[in-house]
């Protein structure tokens, strides 16, 4: 398989893994975010936690594998983003610390303060990572202050606080609302009674907030934020060298792809359409269908960010030529090919056994279930 094709395939595959992460780990992070609000006493909270109890660990691997795939396919992106966003990444990491111990340790001691501490830990572990990822995407869309020297040593010249600019915070709202929406829909599917009612109402509200903030961000992006464009001739088959091109920053450049390939407009359209249909079928209590639709909705939202930026992955605001793109931030042809084979073999297998596990554990988690499994449930 030729190098340019492999480069594009890997852009798609990283997208697939990130969307897989948002769908799978996203719903249990959404559940974590909603935990303190839809579960008002210990048993209710245990119901909420046990809807994802058997699955959160497997779901989290979408995140770990996404990171690993970026390391393997786009090593420069992995190196530059993780070291540049140092404190943001550590905040994600430390927030994630609360999840394994929160899930596993919380119900092992029957003490109100102990349990409430871990409930808030699960909230942090669910709410903080999506917020920071949204903020990170907001910064990618504006360009990040980093530069390579001749040996490709990257230096980041911004600060943590600079990441928290108004547009990035708006992107953080989009991301948080999206994950809460998705988690709310999942929770509605797996619970009943008063918890289900609360989950449905949270899903409605967060779905609407997501659409509103997504629209606002889109308008802002189209009118007020400069995009990036490669201004030299691109040789997609060339060896990966980010310093071998020139880049310009221009208003409206993030709309280039929609102009050249109008069909790509279907991606943001999917975000709107799927969200609106989700809210409709949720009203009819078709919760299983609603979950599939909300997964499509967040595919549309994340896809929109990706399509707007293509072929850029991480533009540099301070050294335009250092910008990382699909063409020059990638691994060698051999590594991309081997990783493609590994992905094509394992992802279908993973989806198959994950589905089986969800089928085994299918059905509503109820208060009666928790009371019966006092000692073994989370």
């Amino acid at each position: 398989m030729d190098y340019p094709t492999l480069k594009v395939i890997w852009w798609v595959l990283v997208g697939v893994l990130l969307i897989g992460f948002a769908i799978m780990d996203g719903h249990d992070m959404g559940v974590g975010t909603l935990l303190p609000f839809v579960g008002r006493n210990d048993v209710e909270r245990r119901v909420v936690i046990n809807t994802v109890g058997p699955h959160w660990d497997g779901n989290q691997v979408w995140f770990i594998t996404g990171g690993g795939a970026i390391f393997a396919a786009w090593p420069l992106v992995y190196a530059t983003a993780f070291s540049g966003f140092y404190w943001a990444m550590l905040a994600v990491l430390w927030a994630l610390f609360f999840r394994p111990v929160g899930f596993d340790y919380r119900s092992k001691i029957a003490n109100a303060a102990w349990r409430s501490t871990w409930d808030w830990g699960l909230f942090i572990g669910g709410a903080v990572p999506p917020l920071i990822f949204g903020v990170a995407f907001g910064n990618l869309l504006q360009g990040v202050p980093f530069a390579f020297d001749d040996n490709l040593v990257s230096t980041y010249s911004g600060s943590f606080w600079q990441l928290l600019n108004p547009f990035a915070l708006l992107a953080g709202v989009v991301s948080s609302a999206m994950i809460t929406f998705h988690g709310g829909v999942y929770l509605a599917h797996r619970t009943e009674g008063v918890i289900q009612e609360r989950a449905m109402s949270s899903a409605r509200w967060s779905g609407l907030i997501m659409l509103a903030s997504f629209t606002l961000a889109g308008i802002w992006l189209a009118s007020g934020i400069d995009g990036y464009r490669i201004s030299s001739v691109v040789d997609p088959a060339a060896m990966a060298n980010p310093l071998g091109k020139t880049v310009v920053r221009q208003a409206g450049a993030w709309l280039d792809n929609y102009r050249h390939w109008p069909l790509t407009l279907l991606v943001p359209a999917l975000a709107y359409l799927a969200t609106l249909i989700t809210l409709t079928v949720l009203k009819a209590r078709r919760t299983g269908l609603a979950f599939i639709l909300s997964a499509l909705a967040l595919t549309g939202v994340i896809g929109t960010a990706g399509v707007s930026m293509f072929p850029f992955i991480m533009p540099s605001s301070t050294s335009l030529a250092s910008s990382l793109t699909v063409w020059d931030a990638v691994s060698s042809q051999k590594t991309l090919f081997i990783m493609l084979v590994a992905t094509l073999i394992f992802v279908p297998i993973i989806i198959a056994y994950t589905s089986w596990c969800y089928r085994v554990m299918a059905g509503k988690v109820t208060v009666a279930f928790i009371e019966k499994n006092e000692h073994s449930a989370y």
Binding site: P75, A79, S83, T335
Partner: protein
Amino acid sequence: MTDSLVDLSRLQFAVTALYHFLFVPLTLGMVWILVVMESVYVMTGKQVYQDMTRFWGKLFGINFALGVTTGITMEFQFGTNWAYYSHYVGDIFGAPLAIEGLMAFFLESTFIGLFFFGWDRLSRPKHLMVTLLMALGTNLSALWILIANGWMQNPVGAEFNPTTMRMELVDFGALLFNPDAQAKFVHTVSAGYVTASTFVLAISSWYMLKGKDVEFAKRSFRVASAFGLASALSVIVLGDESGYTVGEAQQTKLAAMEAMWDTEPAPASFNLIAAPNEKAEKNDWAVKIPYVMGLIGTRSTTTLIPGIHQIKEKNRQRILSGIEAVRALEQVRHDPADQEARRVLEAHKADLGFGLLLKSYVRNFDQVTPELLQKAVDSTIPRVFPMFWGFRIMVALGFLILMLFVASFVSTLQGRCENKRWLLKWALLMLPAPWLACEFGWFVAEYGRQPWTIYGVLPTHLSVSTLTPGNLMGSLAGFVGFYTILLVVEMVLMVKFARQGPGSLATGRYDNELAHAH
């Protein structure tokens, strides 16, 4: 890169890796002990074996949670703190990490949920299959991470590309079947099995000493002593030694940990104990056993094992050749069409890393003095004292553990282990031993690789991210703080459930049912 940034980055990696490694070995072994116990349950239908699986599974789960928590740190850290490393070798190193996620992490993490929650929803054979897949997943993850680590020690199947300014994969098969990775995998998982066996053996002994749940404890003791004996033999016999003659990194490590200052006529003698004197570069005194080193290290009577002085002399030549490589590389980066520079680079490429190592001491090669060169040459050997004693402590603990398992296995065959109080006390006392041995083993393997992150290719000094020492002090403080709290919490739960014993399952069949309600 300032020295303090490099030192702090290394310290943070060491702290987080050693901490992660407190939980990994127990996980690697416990999964198989659970498979054995549950298999007996499925075959015999005896309830006590299901209770054993569930109770030891509960302790396994408490440990597993922290293994997961601290494992994510390791993956993040290559990017956050070792950015140049990630760029320079990501083309090779990233692949096994990603495949580890796809092949192993998904498997273990998906099925661990069903292991805990699937008892009432799955038939007995199906649940056993779930446990088995979980065990397979954890052990496969060790395989892939050790393929990645093996490549750091013995970087095969890759070549430097001056256009992309990084190492690139040329032979995936060589990466997979790196003999160094194979030896490490067998050694590390066996060490994990020993750790888990000791854990079950010690806690079961404690129940017998207390006279509680004796039948449950006796059966657990039996499983642990059989599995532990086999594993302890494997860890020692199939130990790391077989990998030590492969590649120069391991030869350097071997010379340092054996305090072999000079090449001896084959087969070399073994320094049982010695007083290494680093200043004078000799041993002040040593207790030697003739022939043993040569036989263990090379599995032959004629192969020479190079000593530290001989390795240093060779490295001096490689640094001189590396200077040419770095100079040629700079010309090629400046003018990619310079064919003469490309030819020189090609000729000296294998020593490029040694040129980069000298860069840690002097930026401009025109200013190289004999003293600076000597400093760089000396830095190619890790310090002998910690290597020599770290290795010996590990081995001594290994033999003590082996003796424990021999005694335990014999007495469990005789069926009287509950009466041998000296044995039970000994087993309890040995509880920390495998953890200590694992940590010392990690230290010898990774400290022994210094001054490189990738042996001979990329010096540690150049591998770090461009951060400030202040960043590192902040993050290191955060890790130490979080990890201390997590360790306390974990120990509280572990001790609580280990003390309560199988009564914590609330089945009505064991002692201590009422001691704790949950």
